[in-house]
């Protein structure tokens, strides 16, 4: 296999970082991978399961001397971590991240990084509702997209190309996009759908006439994957909505507008409106299948085997 970096540091050892580690090992892509997590418990667990070649007791220790440092912590924690590791970064090193929101990460991280360090943000579009050091697996990124979002126009082309090679080596397809566009696309395809799923699960739970056990028992009929989404890590999603506020609120505004129109159609018994709307959305689904973006294995967009 091709070695792409000599030394990579993973800061944060949750779902994404642990999947990266196993994918890096599978591909033999890196000489040594160091890791750091905030709590002693996570670091212990990582050592126990052999996650990372070396688990360090501080972010700075893990980042020191690395050719690539990947910030794999919640979006709201990126700035503080960047500040902590900045002094030890080696000249010419690349700093990247895997955060689900890009504009706010760039604003939080970039000011801390010294001259001569390349900042190349990225976002792998792959995940599960599980989290923590034991939730990762080497196949998570296989055939999924990873979006690289160069932090500004003069981002070093070689730094981008090398990071791209790493993600491709981990199985992903790589695209580039600017930060604001990324945040809008993700607000539509991921963030707002997640908020909606959280809301629907909350409603079901509040409705005492439909007992919890019934909602659970009969959840097969369309609701169950809403609960799966709504089981995702609360910290991660809190940070996503706080930091991708504008795009999420914009999409939510449109969503409620459309929902009110459908609600009115139901109330007034306007079957034609409902029928036309549902026919139209059906065509969109056809588009997805024709584009080869879906298979017969429905999985709420995860597509990767799980443990």
């Amino acid at each position: 296999m091709t070695r792409i970096y000599d030394r990579v540091a993973l800061i944060g050892l949750g779902l994404i970082a642990s999947s990266m580690y196993w994918a890096i090992k599978r591909g033999g892509l890196v000489g040594e991978v160091t890791g750091y997590a905030r709590t002693e418990a996570t670091r212990e667990k990582a050592r126990e399961i052999g996650l990372c070649d070396r688990v360090c007791d501080s972010a700075a220790e893990a980042a020191e001397g690395a050719d690539l440092v990947v910030l794999c912590v919640p979006v709201g924690a990126m700035g503080a971590v960047a500040e902590e590791i900045a002094p030890v970064l080696k000249p010419g090193a690349t700093v990247s991240d895997v955060g689900s929101v890009k504009r706010s990460v760039i604003e939080a991280v970039a000011p801390h990084l010294p001259e001569g360090v390349h900042f190349v943000p990225a976002h792998p579009l792959a995940g599960t509702e599980h989290s923590g050091p034991e939730s990762g697996f080497a196949e998570l990124f296989d055939n999924r997209w990873c979006i690289i979002v160069p932090s500004d126009e003069d981002t070093d082309a070689e730094a981008v190309a090398t990071l791209r090679a790493l993600w491709e080596g981990m199985g992903a397809n790589v695209d580039e996009m600017d930060a604001d566009h990324h945040d809008l696309v993700l607000a539509v395809t991921s963030h707002t759908p997640h908020l909606i799923a959280y809301t629907m699960v909350g409603v079901a739970d509040d409705l005492r006439r439909v007992t919890d056990s019934e909602v659970i028992k009969y959840s097969a009929a369309g609701f169950r994957d809403f609960t799966r989404i709504a089981a995702s890590d609360p910290t991660m999603w809190r940070d996503v909505f706080l930091t991708n506020k504008d795009a999420t609120l914009e999409i939510l505004g449109r969503f409620t507008e459309e929902l009110f129109a459908l609600q009115r159609a139901i109330r007034t018994g306007d079957g034609d409106h409902l029928f036309e709307y549902f026919t139209h959305t059906r065509a969109i689904r056809r588009g997805i299948i024709e584009a080869g973006q879906d298979t017969d294995a429905p999985d709420f967009g995860r597509g990767a085997p799980r443990k």
Copy 2:
């Protein structure tokens, strides 16, 4: 295998009816199964693929002499079909249906049925987004719930027991529930989630800045199963919302109320509110897993193999 009925008629030959036929054959549960669909094209297709032992050219012809007639047409068409078959129903026969809404089907069908015919509505909680005579498969109901909703208090106990045996023979677990409660539970677990998914897909499509191809390409990140739901049959879902209006509007009202609270939390940056909400919904998901109602195969609640 045990023969449960001598003659069963399936009126409507779509996803549910064709799955019933293959499940009945698999179990050797019925002597002869007749079938009828509205269009000549569907009847031809049924004959071509061997769907039903005999495909008839009218609903009355199919229903005549049957011990069980199952109405497998959209909810809004049940009344007219019941009226058409009523004159030929054999005394002591059972009429059932598979409609996704129960109160309105009872109101539409019951008045047409003659004395001496038992009406035992039912609803299998199983489906896919596909429809038509070729979409069915014998395993659709395996380990899924079928809710039997006796139409009134003096529904014949033996008629209920025999229908229950048929559904169990087709692989389902059977529960009984009254019609209004069924409609509320389904509004929560199925109807409202479907409406929400339809809406979200419509929003994504309207948003011209996010090009269609991007929504499709990156739909992996949470949105894709929304498009799958939104590909379901427009007629079926129009009828569901028109006929389960009160329960759907009630749940939608609660949904928008909760969504507005979360939207406000995002706007004001109230991370604690978001975090608490997401932590709470996560617990609900845990309940589902502990209740053994989900597996590691995420599938938006379908759970059955597809063709």
